[in-house]
Symmetry: C2
Subunit: 213 residues, 2 copies
C-alpha cells in the first residue's frame, strides 16, 4: 500500500513559490505581498502565510516584521559561510565513504545529466545537475539529516545563481571536474577525490562571489 502523497493547498503553494524563485522569476530582494499573491496561487491569506513560514525556515524567504516577506538575497559573508559548511560536509562524506558501485551510481548519473545539459547549452539545467551531484556526495555519508541540510544549502545557493549575469561561466567549468572526481572515487582513491573536491569548492566559491550583481 503506497501512500498517495496528496499535495494539499499549502504544500502546492510552497512548491510554486520555490520553483518561481529557483527559475529566477522572483529575483532576490523582491517583496512578496500577501494580498497580491492570494489571487495567482489560489490560496487564502492564512494558507499563504503557512507557506511563507516553511519557506522562511528553509532560508529562501526572509520576514521583516510588519513590513513583509522578501526573497532572500545572500550577502558575500553568507555565501562564504555556505562554502565553509560545504567543504566540511562534502569532503568528510567523500573521504570516509567506502567505494562500492551502487553508491557511485548516484554520482555517475548526476555527472551524465550535467554533461547532456551542457551539450544542449541549457546552463540552468547544468546548475541543477551540479547541485544534484553534490547532494549525492553528501548522501555517501548515509545520514538523512545531512541529506536534508545539504538540500537546503543547494536551494539557497541557487538564489545566488539566478542573480548571476553569466550562467555559463558559473556552471561550465565544473562539469569536467565532476567527472574527474567521480572517476577518482570510482577508482578507489576516496581521499584524493576529497582533495580534488576541496579545490573544486574553493574555485567555485570565487566564481560565485565574482558573479554577484
Amino acid at each position: 500500500m503506497t501512500t498517495v502523497e496528496k499535495p494539499g493547498s499549502a504544500a502546492r503553494a510552497v512548491e510554486q513559490l520555490r520553483n518561481a524563485m529557483i527559475n529566477g522569476e522572483l529575483a532576490p530582494g523582491t517583496r512578496l505581498s500577501e494580498t497580491s499573491l492570494t489571487g495567482p496561487l489560489k490560496v487564502s491569506r492564512n494558507t499563504l502565510r503557512e507557506a511563507f513560514s516553511t519557506l522562511i525556515e528553509e532560508g529562501l524567504l526572509v520576514r521583516q516584521p510588519h513590513r513583509g516577506v522578501f526573497v532572500a538575497s545572500l550577502s558575500p559573508a553568507q555565501i562564504a559561510d555556505i562554502y565553509r559548511v560545504r567543504v566540511l560536509l562534502e569532503c568528510s562524506a567523500l573521504s570516509q565513504a567506502p567505494t562500492d558501485p551502487p553508491r557511485a551510481a548516484g554520482l555517475r548519473t548526476a555527472v551524465d545529466d550535467a554533461g547532456r545539459a551542457a551539450s544542449a547549452g541549457d546552463w540552468r539545467a547544468v546548475g541543477t545537475a551540479n547541485m544534484h551531484f553534490h547532494e549525492q556526495i553528501v548522501a555517501l555519508a548515509g545520514s538523512p539529516r545531512l541529506d536534508s541540510w545539504m538540500r537546503q544549502l543547494t536551494a539557497e545557493l541557487r538564489l545566488a545563481f539566478v542573480a548571476a549575469p553569466d550562467p555559463e561561466a558559473l556552471h561550465r567549468p565544473f562539469v569536467a571536474m565532476n567527472d574527474a572526481i567521480t572517476s577518482t572515487y570510482e577508482a578507489g582513491d576516496a581521499n584524493r577525490a576529497a582533495d580534488m573536491l576541496r579545490d573544486y569548492l574553493l574555485t567555485s566559491e570565487r566564481v560565485v562571489l565574482g558573479n554577484l550583481p
Copy 2:
C-alpha cells in the same frame, strides 16, 4: 535605536511549547490537539498552526496529515544519526580552531555552570549546561549556520533526555570530561582535545541509547 524584539503571539506560543517539551511536561509521542490547545495558550487556531509549522521544521514536532501533530520521539536510528553528525561537526570545529583565550571563555563558563548545577544536584540544569558546552564547541568554527544547526540538534536530543528514567546517570559522567577537554584545548592541543571529544561522544551515545524507555 535598538529593536525591541516584541514577541508576537505566534512566537510566544512557540516558546511555551518548546519549554514544555524540554521540561518533560509533554512526553514524546503525545498528540497535540489544535482545539484543546487554543485555550491554554490563548492563541487562535491559525496562529497555533503557524507555531506548529516552525516547531515541525525544528524537528521537535511531527505532523501526520489529517491525523494531528505529535511530540517527536527519536528512534535509536535517529539518535545514532544525531551522534554521527555531532562527531563530524564538533570534532571538526574543535580541531581546526585556533587557541585563543576569548574563544575558550565560552567553553569555560559552560563547564563552570555544569559544575555548579552538579553540586546542587539539579541534573536537568546539568544537561542544559552540557548542551550549551557543545554548542560553544561548534561556535569555535565561527559559522552562524553551524550554530543554528547545532542548536537544533541539542533541542532534539533533549527530547530523548526527558524520556530517560535516570537523569543523573545521563549527565553526571560528562561534567569532568567537559573540564578535561576544555583544559586540553586551553593548553593549545586542539587535536588531542578533539580526540577526547570523539571518545566522549561515542560514550554519550551508548549512555543515551541505554537510557531509552
